[in-house]
Amino acid sequence: MEKQPIVELRQLSKTIGKKKIIDNLNLQLYPGQITGFLGPNGAGKTTTIRMMAGLMRPTSGEVFVEGQSVTEHFEETMSKVGVIVENPEMYKYMSGWKNLLHFARMNKSVTKERITEVVEQVGMQNRIHEKVSKYSLGMRQRLGLAQALLHRPKFLILDEPTNGLDPAGIREFRAHLRKIAIEDGVSVFVSSHLLSEIELMCDRIAVIQNGQLIDIREMNQVEEAHYYIEAQPAEQARELLTARGLSLEVSGAGFITKVEQEKIPELIHLMVEANIQVFAVQPYRKTLEDQFLEMTGGGQIAESHTK
């Protein structure tokens, strides 16, 4: 990755009272890329995002946007950032349109035409003049996205945006983010405590636990490395595959194995020749989820869910 990062967290730390909530975070975010920010509840995602949005002062370290520190150059940096922190709380007693007008007035270059454009982009033109108090959670999320996009930010921060969205909503949202990232070269930073909700939309994932960054990985590294193979008779298939030097792990009716993509046709060919019936050969995605659970300790996630 030789591109210049658009956002950089340098040794970011936050202590509240005696508790170290964020501990020496270093992270770079690049244009056109969607980075996931994954961590169990209470890991410090929202706190990190609050510091990136200028709502909290870091105890030490800094957030840079295009090389400028957010605390020192607040107005310049924030005009490049669009953000939704936790739920998008809008002024419920006003219409969606008035809310957008309100936020538009706080940026120098947002015209009425731009507001209309964004409203259409998030598909709210039919109900934009209704009061926000009448909106469903999904509509509030859309309105939240609209306010974050108004000023064409180069960097978009979304904190648990899939909260309260149904699967169809999540899919639509994902397509939307992809489009923004690819077409406008926006760098997107999406937090979530559920890998399954963001793994399909992210190019990379940064994992945070107890305020520390414990892993950053590119998504395509992992995805193709593991395959799920289901074939009958299973014993014969196992012999054949282990003879090719693969180590297998039983999973349901089949095996999971680590193998490069280009070897797959050859393996299928061998199994078919040996009269083995092949039912399924597919990339195995769960690996990341498993690794995430391993890294963060599955039990702890369940625990922090309940509090």
């Binding site: 949005a53 200028g54 924030m78 953000v83 709380e89 002024y91 008035k98 007035r105 306010q147």
Partner: protein, 315 residues
Amino acid sequence: MLNLIRNEWMKLWHKKATWIMTIILVIMLIGIAGIMKWATSNMQQAEETHSWEENLAENQAMLKAELSNPNIGKAEKESLEEELALTEYRLDNNRAPLDPNSRESYVVNSHSMLSMVTLFVVIAAASIVATEFSQGTIKMLLSRPVKRWKILTSKYLTSILFALFLIVVAIVSTIIAGYLFYDSSGGSLLEYKAGSVVEISYWGRVLTLYGLQFVGVLIYTTFAFMMGSVFRSSSLAIGLSIFLLFMGPNVVFFLSRFEFTKYILFTHTDLTGYITGNMFIQGISMPFSIAVLAVYVLIFLVISYWSFIRRDVTA
């Protein structure tokens, strides 16, 4: 900054409470005038009425009698002499005083009704920052390319604008009530100034009284604004501000014999006392009061800005 104030003004008027407060203000001001008129007209039927000349002549005789008493103190003597001078001026030059049941004296005396404006402006000023926190919208508001001090300034200016608006509504309502329930009568206002009697303009007096009352409104507005910024909870800020608004003057009344009372905020919030002569404590002057008020306002603003700009937003 203009856009920020437009935003605040828009939000203010999208809240039902703002409309309700304005409507209550108008209804109360006109309603109370009606009730007062009704009550006094019932009482007056029993009384026999004299002309103002008869009343003043009686008053003149009384003042003279009191002045001839050799035991009265110096201060009392001066004030009696002043009053006598005014009375004699009226009789000699045929200048009737304002009839207490006239439209003119109703309007000029109603400046004290502005405590209702104070109450409503306090509610609005305490909420203008606090509700952003309690509804969570503050994080939307502050993650914009606008520095925090600008946002707070726009909110403060909007509170003052709202105070001005309500004062104008109150004055207009009072004048309407005056026209509805009272008849005009002639009469003039006199003042004893530097040893001689001068006539003063009626509307000048009205504006001065309402203007001074507005200073008090501004002080309470600033105080409530600070409470909202510090506590970030509208109910706490409104509750505490209103409590102090009602308790403050009473506390001053009880403490009036102590020297330090003259540094307490509430001693100075009603500047109209300097015009009407109703002062709680003696030995203070208008410039002194204004200086004390200025110091308090400055302190309130410093605390407001410090709290708003420095503290993390976790709402």
